[in-house]
């Protein structure tokens, strides 16, 4: 494993994630019949934030470090994903490592949110935790079916060894749902609800720290989408050259993101209890899928 194999995907996600966000804003603007910001707007915002000196509500270390940990975790999660033929840090069972490292972004978000005596940040943290709690079983079932089907828990191995079956399509559907929820897209953005709790944890962040945190959250969304995209693209492109697979993955992620944004634009935000109820319903449905899968279909 050469160093560049890590550096390339890392810089890739760091660069593309904000652009993707910019594209999302553009798409949303189009749905809303307006011109919208330039595609690079999120980058402009980010650079502007990163160059700003923050104002800190506390000296607490967890508050200060959380954004960096979040960013590092999100980026680290990217290193176990497959990019075309390249998967920088592949190993058996890396799916769970991926999952937990992605969860670390949430953990940083939550701990930072609870690190202040502020009901806004606390509510954000609280909701994020409940969201994670309620979506985890769905995610688990999706992974379980994929594992049953592919006999592996290695991210770069699993997609290539899936056998077509009804349950696998449903499993990818579940995965998509889980990614959607985990990504905090409307209507599941209760944790960062701006009009309710002022972006939750981020309410108290400013300047550079805010920039880093926002970046982390964007990267997290991106890696989640990339995960989903890989599970869709890789099984269909066995034998393709690596660069082609990579381009297809990129296209798939873009397509998924556009779909996600369109869904986002046509929904109101669910209250956290409604979101939990919805996730539970999906979980119960997913148990049926698991049953189907364990029957070998």
């Amino acid at each position: 494993m050469a160093l560049w194999e890590i550096i390339v995907p890392v810089s890739l996600v760091l660069t593309i994630a904000p652009i993707l966000d910019g594209m999302g804003r553009k798409v949303k603007a189009k749905v809303q019949m307006r011109q919208g910001p330039p595609i690079l707007q999120t980058w402009y915002d980010l650079t502007s934030l990163l160059s700003m000196e923050p104002i800190l509500p506390t000296d607490g270390l967890s508050f200060r470090l959380a954004p960096y940990v979040a960013l590092a975790s999100a980026v680290a999660a990217a290193t176990v994903l497959p990019y075309g033929g390249l998967s920088p840090l592949r190993f058996s069972g890396d799916f769970f490592v991926f999952l937990y490292v992605v969860a670390m972004v949430s953990i940083a978000y939550i701990v930072a949110g609870f690190s202040l005596p502020n009901t806004y940040t606390n509510a954000g943290a609280n909701r994020e935790m409940m969201m994670v709690l309620s979506i985890e079983p769905v995610l688990g079932v999706a992974i379980g079916i994929l594992a049953i089907n592919s006999h592996s828990l290695c991210l770069s191995y699993m997609p290539l060894h899936l056998h077509a079956s009804p349950s696998i399509f449903l499993a990818i559907g579940l995965l998509a749902y889980a990614v959607y929820v985990e990504g905090g897209f409307v209507p599941f953005d209760a944790a960062e609800a701006e009009t309710e709790i002022l972006e939750g944890t981020l309410c108290e962040y400013s300047g550079r720290l805010l920039g880093v945190f926002k970046w982390a959250l964007m990267v997290k969304r991106f890696v989640l989408l990339w995960l989903l995209g890989s599970f869709i693209v890789l099984p269909l492109t066995k034998g393709f050259p690596g660069w082609a697979v990579f381009l297809l993955q990129l296209t798939a992620v873009l397509a998924i993101y556009f779909a996600v944004v369109t869904v986002e634009a046509h929904n109101a935000r669910l209250r956290i209890d409604q979101a939990i109820r919805m996730n539970t319903k999906v979980f119960l449905a997913s148990l049926v899928v698991l049953l189907i899968a364990s029957l070998g279909w």
């Binding site: 603007a29 189009k30 019949m33 307006r34 011109q35 919208g36």
Partner: protein, 165 residues
Amino acid sequence: MGVTLRYPFVSIEAPPEYRGVPHIDPELCIGCGACVNACPPDALMRIDDLKNGTREIVLDIGRCIRCARCEEVCPTGAVKMTGRFEVASLDRRDHVEVVRLRLVRCEACGEYTDYTERQVVKALQILPEEEYDAEEIKAYSRICRRCRRKLSALGAIEASRRFAP
């Protein structure tokens, strides 16, 4: 299908009915101060400098609520609501419009009066000439209130002398 206007990258005009920023036409303003009296937020001010004999009609469009009362009351049509609205600035001084007029100097005592040269001209224009002696009025118009009162008093004394032998 977006509906977003290209403004400000293209210039646009406000509709003709729009009550934009008011503007005082210095050619028409007679300095009567009707607008100052009518202005609800005191965006218009009349500042007399009796030393130098000038009157300033000051319009601060940063205070103006654009109700068009000044336009409504202006007897000469000097104050007009324009279609202009692009008046943002980092410097509040940019928002001030000053029209400086000359006050009439009293021919009797040499002090400045509290009305302008142009007010006199305008008043004479309106005056139904057939009912007044234009020349007398013209003469009186250049004398300040105090002197006028004095003149009247003197005139009264004169008259009483005449009628009371």
